[in-house]
Each structure stands twice: as structure tokens, then as C-alpha cells.
């Protein structure tokens, strides 16, 4: 049986998720036994377009990105969004809250019309995405699980509950007890509460949990006498596009 042909593509991002894969030192050679890598610009010089599975990192943020992602979608049987930039537009979406024309004016001055730039979007906002691996950076173990599921034709398991569940299981002290606004109650789990376990507040890089229990989150804020303004600031880091959608629905 021939090995499935795999390609990796990067869009607007820090390439941390690409690097993350190169950090799978113990498994890298085993993975290369299972798939044929035909396109991975950061690591290999080959570049072929006969791939079946495309892993895409980064946000869609220029007209050229849109063209390129459509081309990839046409070729790939399976398209996987890797990391926060591809999954939820991540930090790239911060600029969406600003007037794009004003940003361009500030950055390009008189040349603002020369540079084509569009709203920073998640891959799924532009083309159909079959699977996603959340997080900034994506979690290597989760990437391996998703890859295994794809290769064996099963459905990968991505948790649909909040980071708090994993944080409690690890018996961490709650950061709210220290007056810190943490995105744990509203963020999709699966990272093993990576940041709170290191004493750092969660900043929501895995996106908002499906079926968010907004009332419970509000109760937490009230219990600790924190303002919605503070949690809105936290949302602004990785979930700016989510906030925009919510605001539109509430209008």
C-alpha cells in the first residue's frame, strides 16, 4: 500500500506550529515511515502538488492568501487547520478591531493603497476545514492523535469542555483566588491546563468552548467582583473574531 502523501503550508503566522512538528524528535522518524512528505517548505526542498492531506498553519490575511488556500483546498482530500491562527485567526485578529484603513494609513502612510490587506480570518472562514488542532502553539501530542485518527480513518477526539475541568483534575490553585482574570472557564480544554499549571492565566488560545455556559462564567466574574471589561480584554488577545461575531448577533 502506498503511503499517503502529506503537505504542510503556512499562511500568516509565526511558524511556531511548523517548528513544533520538528520538535517531535522522538517520533519524527516513525511518522516519516507512515506518510510521504511532499511539501514542507520550512524543512525540505522538495515541493510537489500531488498531496492528499494538507496541514495548514496561519491566518488568511491577504488576497493572495485567499487564492492560495482555494488552490490547496481543490487539491487536498483532507484539509487540517493547525494552531490558533488557522483555527480561530488568533492574535492576527487583534487588528480586525481597528479600522483597517486607519491601520494601513498609519503603517504605510501615503503608500497605503499599494498594499492589499484584508481582515485576518480563520481558514474555516474561507474554505471547508475537515479537522483542526487548536492552540498557540498547537499541542504536539494532540497533533499526533489527529494524524493517527486521519491515517486510521477514525474521528479524532477534541475535548468540548472547559480548561477548568483539566485544571481542577491537576489540583491547581484557582488563579481567580489571586485576583487574576483567567480564560479557563470559557476556553476549550485539551491542553491539560498548560498555562494555569505553570501559574499563568489562560489566555484562550484554544478558542471558546462550544456551548459556552456564559451565565456560569458571569457568576465566576461576579463571585470574584471582577468586571466584564477585564474579561473582554482577555478575549481580545486570541478571540477577537469570536467577540465580533457575538457583538453582531447581539445587535
Amino acid at each position: 500500500m502506498s503511503k499517503p502523501k502529506v503537505a504542510f503550508f503556512d499562511f500568516t503566522s509565526c511558524e511556531g506550529c511548523q517548528l513544533s512538528k520538528l520538535n517531535l524528535e522522538d517520533d519524527l522518524l516513525a511518522i516519516l515511515d507512515l506518510v510521504e512528505l511532499v511539501n514542507f517548505r520550512e524543512a525540505i526542498s522538495d515541493r510537489r502538488d500531488d498531496y492528499e492531506i494538507a496541514f495548514v498553519e496561519g491566518s488568511i490575511s491577504t488576497p493572495h492568501c485567499v487564492e492560495r488556500i482555494h488552490r490547496i483546498r481543490r487539491q487536498a482530500k483532507i484539509l487540517v487547520a493547525l494552531g490558533a491562527c488557522a483555527h480561530i485567526a488568533g492574535v492576527n485578529a487583534i487588528r480586525n478591531r481597528m479600522n483597517i484603513d486607519a491601520v494601513k494609513e498609519e503603517v504605510y502612510g501615503k503608500d497605503k493603497y499599494l498594499f492589499p490587506s484584508i481582515k485576518a480570518q480563520a481558514v474555516a472562514d474561507v474554505v471547508k476545514v475537515d479537522f483542526f488542532v487548536p492552540g498557540c502553539p498547537m499541542d504536539n501530542q494532540e497533533f499526533k492523535r489527529v494524524l493517527t485518527a486521519i491515517l486510521t480513518g477514525t474521528q479524532p477526539h477534541i475535548p468540548e469542555y472547559a480548561v477548568c475541568v483539566e485544571c481542577k483534575a491537576r489540583e491547581n490553585e484557582c488563579l481567580y483566588d489571586y485576583g487574576t482574570v483567567c480564560m479557563g472557564p470559557v476556553t476549550r480544554a485539551g491542553c491539560g491546563a498548560a498555562c494555569p499549571s505553570n501559574g499563568h492565566y489562560c489566555f484562550g488560545c484554544r478558542g471558546v468552548v462550544p456551548d459556552l455556559n456564559a451565565n456560569a462564567a458571569r457568576d465566576v466574574m461576579e463571585k470574584y467582583k471582577l468586571s466584564m471589561h477585564q474579561i473582554r480584554n482577555r478575549f481580545a488577545m486570541f478571540n477577537a473574531n469570536y467577540v465580533e461575531v457575538q457583538e453582531k448577533q447581539n445587535e
Binding site: 519524527l28 522518524l29 526542498s45 502553539p137
Partner: protein, 438 residues
């Protein structure tokens, strides 16, 4: 050759971080175009940072680059602390230095073995080497993994560490972590680095013997081979304070690149391993100095291709330096301490620099009296090197033609040149004031 025509175009150079194209155009012996086009989409980080509280700034600037995230976080935190007058403990400085050394090891090993070595061995990537040189590939993976494990134990994780905040760390490594790092460096990293040196010595003749002297810039300190702090040193003009960094960088816009270019005393300058080595060679630790001698490297090294070789020399240096720092930390014992906090918030500005793997990195923030960003500026090593790459290409093309190289050989040599700088193109377009002509 005087009437030669030559056109070389390498779209999306592989085995570099980010998107860049090489374009060479020679018409009737006259070199019309020789440059690296940076086509990475701009990221607008400086504009994005506006209004964010000081506690979140390093988390966001970390996302400028996954490969250099430790360097961006550390530089960002230092600049914020300077602006807001936050004094950090000696323990925090030592731990941050260790983390910077771990990140340097990781990045240098990745570049030397995975990005640069395939060219010296005549293969398109590290993948075929797994079959032909399995022991070397396994060793390189082992070195990289250890460097990553060091960053994990100090910073919480390697890519976008999650323990670093203004004023210190949210969680500290244990004594056992430090002992483990020390033992692994001695037992594993030092022997592997020595084996890498023997290997690189054998491959060294494959580096093109091209030289072009330029200005070399890096941090310098009177007491150590500077990574964490110091003054800005130039081989042409001597030392200046970090606060005066804008006088060194002089950013300017070129039409072919979404990354700005920089120049100082000449048409361009070099930052990175060569920038540090050519300014600080005398302060290398003993094994590193011996490695430099072994590879025939002595300042001023003028061959840009040898930046890769100097990275291996620096790998020795940071391993030795890490061992020294761990001994200090272990003898004093790790003290549980909370991150330092600012006093009364007031308006302030702070500019700081760190030597990250690819060269000197500057972050400069202005805060309002609520501790929110009013203005931010980040100047990235690759931004500083892009003009130097163009100038090298301009000299390299006639050099290659004099040697009657085939077009394929020339293309490969140009790609090797770009890779030698270990460019980080995502970083270089992190914001930016850009002009894009098509």
C-alpha cells in the same frame, strides 16, 4: 562574460523560516537586480499592541515568531520593566539567561543540522539523511530535544513559554530540574557537540570560499560574551548605549521587500553569530575558543557562509556558560519569590536589546499612566540583515561567474547564502511600515 545574461529566480526559498524569493537579473554583463524579495504578509504587531496592558505585551510579541519566542519574550519583558521601573532579582536574571542559552542551543542545532547541513551533503533535506546517516540524524535530534527540554523545564514550554511575566517567573524550576540540566549537558550535550565539531570540520571545505567584509554589529559586555545585555558594538564605530539603537538601525524601505532594510556605517551591516563573534571573540569560553581554532575561525571572519560554523562554536559557549550559571544557582539555592510588580503606574518608555540566535533584537515601548501601550517598536535581526544579504548577492554573482559555475550551482550557492544568515522572515515583517510595489 562582459555580455553575459543571467536570470535566476528561486520562489519561496526552502529550509528558511518564512517566505522569501531570490531574484537575480543580469543583462549584458550588468547586474540589474540581485536581491532577496521578502513576500511574507505583514503582521502589524506594533499597531496591534496599542492599548494592551503591560502584563499581556510579552505574550503577544512572543507570537511574532515561534522560533525566536524566548528571545522576543525576554526582550519584551526587559523593555517593559525598564519603562515601568520594575526591578528584578538576580535569580530572575540568571534563569532568564539560562533560558536564552537553551533557546540559542535549540535554534543553532536546528539551523546547522536541519537547515544548512543538507546543502553541504548534497541532499534536498534531512529526510534522506535519516537513511544514509542515521547516527548523525539521531544525534542531531537528541541535541535538539535536550535543548528543548531545558527550555521546557525553565520556561514551561519551548515555543511561547508560559512562565515568564514582567518582574519574574510564575513558576520556578526545582533544584532537581537544574541538576538534571547540568548532568545532561555534561553527559550528553558536550560529547555530541564535540562529535558535531569533528563532522563539521570534515564538511567545512564545502562552504564556498567567498569573502566580503562589512560592518559587524552585536551586543558587547566587558565581562562576558554578551547575549542577555550589554552595549551595542560595531566593528566599524565602537560602542553605543542601547537607548541609542535608532542611530544604529536607520530603517529604510525598499520596494522589493515587505521587510524594511537597515544600514549604519556602510551600505549594510551583519548581525547574528558573525556579528557577535567578530565583536566578542576574546570572551568565548575555553571549549568554544578551541572549537573556533579547530575550524580555523578567527576574527574578523568575513565569509558569510561561515555564520553556520560560528553557530556551532557558540553552541559550545552557551553550554559552558549554562554550566557556570547552574552552579551559581545551585550553590545559592532556588528561592521561592513572586514576580516583582511596578510601583505607582506612570508614563514611561523603555528600549532594550537581547542577542537572539539570529542577531541583535530591539523592543521599545511607551506606556501611558495606566500601564497600557501607546507606542511600540520592534527591530528584528533579519530586518537588519536583509540589505546585507542583497549586498552579498551583488558581490557573489560576479564571483560565481568568474569561477564558471553552472546556473544550477549558482542557484544552490545563492540559496546557501540566504540560509547561512538563518533568516527569520516571519519576524522581519512583524509589523510594518511597508511599501509593496508590484
Amino acid at each position: 562574460m562582459s555580455d553575459a545574461n543571467l536570470h535566476i529566480e528561486v520562489p519561496y526559498v526552502t529550509r528558511v523560516e518564512g517566505h522569501g524569493n531570490i531574484v537575480i537579473d543580469m543583462r549584458q554583463g550588468r547586474l540589474v537586480t540581485s536581491h532577496l524579495e521578502v513576500v511574507e504578509p505583514p503582521r502589524y504587531f506594533e499597531a496591534m499592541l496599542k492599548g494592551f496592558p503591560y502584563s499581556d505585551v510579552a505574550l503577544i510579541t512572543s507570537r511574532i515568531c515561534g522560533i525566536c519566542s524566548v528571545g522576543h519574550q525576554v526582550t519584551s519583558l526587559k523593555a517593559t520593566e525598564k519603562a515601568l521601573d520594575i526591578t528584578i532579582s538576580e535569580q530572575t536574571v540568571l534563569l532568564r539567561k539560562l533560558l536564552v542559552y537553551g533557546a540559542t542551543m535549540q535554534s543553532h542545532v536546528l539551523h546547522v543540522f536541519f537547515l544548512a547541513a543538507p546543502d553541504l551533503l548534497g541532499v534536498p533535506s534531512v529526510v534522506p539523511l535519516a537513511a544514509t546517516h542515521p547516527d548523525v540524524v539521531k544525534m542531531a535530534l537528541r541535541m535538539k530535544k535536550l535543548a528543548n527540554d531545558i527550555c521546557d523545564r525553565l520556561g514551561g514550554r519551548t515555543i511561547h513559554p508560559n512562565r515568564l511575566v514582567p518582574g519574574g517567573f510564575t513558576k520556578l524550576p526545582s533544584r532537581a530540574d537544574l541538576e538534571w540540566i547540568r548532568d545532561m549537558l555534561v553527559k550528553q550535550m558536550v560529547p555530541d557537540a564535540k562529535a558535531s565539531l569533528a563532522l563539521l570540520k570534515k564538511l567545512a571545505p564545502k562552504f564556498p570560499a567567498f569573502e566580503r567584509e562589512t560592518e559587524y554589529i552585536g551586543l558587547a559586555s566587558p565581562t562576558e560574551y554578551a547575549f542577555y545585555d550589554g552595549k551595542i558594538a560595531s566593528t566599524d564605530t565602537g560602542l553605543v548605549e542601547v537607548d541609542d539603537y535608532l542611530a544604529m538601525t536607520n530603517e529604510f524601505v525598499v520596494p522589493h521587500s515587505t521587510s524594511k532594510h537597515c544600514r549604519h556605517a556602510r551600505s549594510s551591516y551583519f548581525v547574528g553569530a558573525l556579528g557577535r563573534f567578530n565583536n566578542n571573540h576574546a570572551l568565548l569560553n575555553p571549549l568554544a575558543k578551541a572549537a573556533a581554532t579547530e575550524l580555523g575561525l578567527k576574527p574578523v571572519v568575513k565569509n558569510p557562509f561561515l555564520n553556520t560554523a560560528v553557530q556551532l562554536v557558540e553552541t559550545f559557549h552557551v553550554v559552558e556558560e549554562s554550566l557556570k550559571l547552574i552552579d551559581i544557582l545551585l550553590s545559592k539555592g532556588i528561592k521561592e519569590e513572586k514576580p516583582a510588580v511596578p510601583g505607582k503606574l506612570r508614563e514611561g518608555r523603555g528600549a532594550e536589546a537581547t542577542e537572539v540566535p539570529r542577531g541583535i533584537l530591539f523592543h521599545d515601548y511607551t506606556y501611558d499612566n495606566r500601564g497600557q501601550v501607546v507606542k511600540a517598536n520592534c527591530i528584528i535581526p533579519t530586518t537588519q540583515n536583509t540589505q546585507c544579504i542583497d549586498d552579498d548577492m551583488t558581490a557573489l554573482v560576479p564571483w560565481m561567474m568568474d569561477r564558471d559555475m553552472s546556473k544550477d550551482q549558482m542557484t544552490l550557492t545563492l540559496e546557501m547564502l540566504v540560509r547561512a544568515y538563518d533568516p527569520c522572515i516571519s519576524c522581519s515583517v512583524h509589523f510594518l511600515d511597508v511599501e509593496f510595489l508590484e
